[in-house]
Symmetry: C2
Subunit: 442 residues, 2 copies
């Protein structure tokens, strides 16, 4: 059978599945069964989910968990998290509880400006382009009114448009660099629509601009696109307490913990190999909430990591100090999020997640998401600098291996006990389980 196909997107979902299982699976009945067992029994609901993207054949389950006891600016939240990685929700919950007893998280939105650019080529005199831009700036904004009208009624819209000369980077390359306030919308459609209108207006007006030569009139638009780099859409989350209150009574003093914690932070500030993993842990918390609330984690990831590299060397997103006996730990990151538009009004679980959070504005969601990141980093550094990360991980790892071998509850009890004093590895678990089963079979 040919492994290529024409007109695949036009097939029905069942026809698509038939072609896939017949073409790529040795046991096509099994494959079909697995795909269909993930369909929702409510056909209308399933159709809704199918239409989110193209060529949908089933639903990929991400576990949807919750982390309670988050005290943020004196209000309590239970935070919804969609993530496949074990330990993340447990770590978030643990950090939430720890800080709940020490004043909770304090957060602040620093700025909410988003950026979009029209990239174009212009072959001519720079001062003339500048005159042209000044002469059409109000038209650029005016022509967008059908797009911006509603956003303006709510207090948002186009903040500014600048002409940027980028010819020192690429010959004849210029930009319209525009800034936007998109309120509770993530704003991608809004910004891109404005930018494409800017380009249309600019091209039309260039042809009418008398001071341009014929060559100068031929502006060449390369592309119009929002930026996912949003260093001016910033939020800060912070925790703080007396150093002595960090103590874990039996295990270590507050001073010892704080000192080690600060060392770990300083290492992530200077060593990129560590910073990447350090920030990855922060993103475990952030992406889980971003996903659960129907936002685009690729956009958030790109913006955050670029921000982490803004000073020329990739570095930690969190920082900590000990001053006058006080421990302070904080995170400052760019987050362009929406609580209206996109999936937020469509995906029933996203709507539920937003309701669980008290139907936040985009600004409030920025703060909640930042807290999830800070909590995650606190929990990770705490276990890394005290017990080590493997203790918790290996317990989950053991459970995963046991599930893979379909271990029953009795077997699980015996093996969990065994691996309290033995090193977990796939082969060790497999061997121990095989031995146990042989003994039982005897």
């Amino acid at each position: 059978m040919s492994k290529t196909i024409s007109g695949f997107s036009k097939l029905s979902k069942s026809e698509k599945i038939n072609w896939i299982v017949d073409t790529y699976f040795s046991n096509s009945k099994d494959a079909e069964h697995i795909l269909k067992q993930y369909w929702n029994s409510d056909e209308k609901l399933q159709q809704l989910h199918d239409e989110f993207i193209e060529n949908t054949i089933t639903n990929y389950y991400l576990p949807f968990g919750v982390a309670p006891n988050f005290l943020i600016n004196d209000r309590f939240y239970t935070i919804p998290m969609a993530i496949e990685e074990s330990s993340v929700v447990a770590a978030a919950s643990k950090a939430a509880k720890f800080w709940m007893d020490r004043g909770g998280f304090k957060t602040e939105v620093i700025s909410t400006t988003k950026i979009g650019q029209v990239h174009f080529m212009y072959h001519g005199r720079k001062d003339m382009l500048n005159s042209f831009f000044i002469s059409i700036k109000s038209k650029l904004i005016e022509d967008c009114k059908p797009i911006t009208k509603n956003m303006e009624l709510r207090g948002g819209g186009i903040i500014n448009i600048e002409l940027r000369d980028k010819t020192s980077d690429i010959k004849n390359y210029y930009q319209l660099h525009a800034s936007f306030e998109t309120l509770d919308a993530m704003g991608a459609n809004f910004i891109n629509s404005c930018l494409e209108q800017f380009a249309k207006t600019m091209k039309r007006e260039a042809l009418l601009f008398d001071d341009f030569t014929e060559k100068e009139k031929q502006l060449d638009i390369v592309m119009c696109i929002l930026s996912n780099y949003v260093p001016d859409c910033l939020v800060r989350a912070e925790v703080s307490c007396k150093v002595e209150d960090l103590s874990d009574h039996d295990a270590f003093s507050g001073e010892a913990f704080a000192e080690k914690f600060l060392q770990a932070i300083k290492i992530a500030e200077v060593e990129p190999y560590r910073a990447v993993t350090h920030n990855k842990g922060i993103m475990n918390g952030i992406d889980a909430v971003v996903l659960a609330t129907g936002n685009d984690f690729r956009a958030v990831e790109a913006g955050v990591h670029a921000y982490a590299s803004r000073n020329g060397s990739y570095s930690s997103l969190t920082h900590a100090t000990i001053e006058n006996g006080f421990f302070t730990f904080w995170l400052e990151i760019p987050l362009a999020l929406g609580t209206v538009g996109g999936l937020t009004g469509l995906h029933p679980l996203v709507k539920l997640a937003l309701e669980m959070l008290g139907k936040p504005t985009a600004k409030e969601l920025m703060q909640i998401v930042a807290v999830a990141g800070l909590a995650q980093n606190f929990a990770a550094l705490r276990s890394l600098t005290t017990t080590g990360i493997q203790q918790g991980h290996m317990k989950m790892h053991l459970m995963n291996i046991l599930n893979q071998f379909h271990a029953n509850d009795a077997e699980k009890v015996i093996l969990i006990e065994h691996f309290k004093t033995n090193t977990v590895s796939f082969s060790a678990v497999s061997d121990t389980l095989a031995n146990l089963r042989m003994r039982i079979d005897d």
Copy 2:
């Protein structure tokens, strides 16, 4: 009712749900119904998914779609993608088809080395630490044998351990910087277990090292952790064809297209505001396959974006040239992936996705994932530099708004026709639909 809770993780799933809906929802019955309608009817399957993380209350659906017709190194693939964003799967399929007719994708794994570090503080003579390290290096490796035995049998294991002096960054700070080959495993557990063993061995041996003073014997381990920065776990994907073969007969010539495409790439190379969005588009393709195959997209995102900033300024991950009448377009990125361990053996849909791809090795999966990223970027630049990105997006946007208003099929037909010549916005669609419904009610 109190919005905080003790012992939440000990509650049963139903008890957790009860507390959440009673505490955070005005209509608790509705919320409970929504959560439960996403449960799988197969209890054992649901339990399996619940156990992946902690405090699971339901399944978050990500649409699972497929993009057929990927020709990679002369073999055909249908690529599974789990993603919530519209247009991504359609763009991948379109790019696959385009390149299928032009020789397909060529890929190559450049390297597969992963990194882990033991971060520690040492107060003493540097040359003595160096002597100590040389004297214990073989013991470090030997003590890990119970962990590395099986990996070594398959050809992997610890490649090297270096002592690194980082005291110019932080006083008294040193590292064991170790490299690993983890074959088909992503390797996080393996590497972290080795590192924690290194730390134990090092601490033990330091106490026995006669040339150390008492102070020097007190090595202070800060943390042991793998790095998600993997610049030596690199893969390259490429497409290439005659410039004239890029032509889209009616719309543009191959030369015009290639030139504009190269301009767009060069802009993403020099302008961080564009590079972040450019790379975000690449990650749309990459993460969708990473998710579908049970890998950790946060780890991949962190490593890839840090790599994009490695030369001091955040830049494009793809590049293109026109030489001797040939257009070449390529991507080179770090990808640490696994096809065994973690979710790969546990999540039925992950197993199915891997079987759809022909049960790839980790190296093969690196190549497939890189191709998904390159295809995505090709499709994005193609629409950005020709029709603009909004044409496709607005069609999907319109459908999403119509679904939000529960438009029926007849209403959809009328409104799609209407918005072929009118600008899509939430209010425009809402108004037009309201008008239509009033007319029908009349």
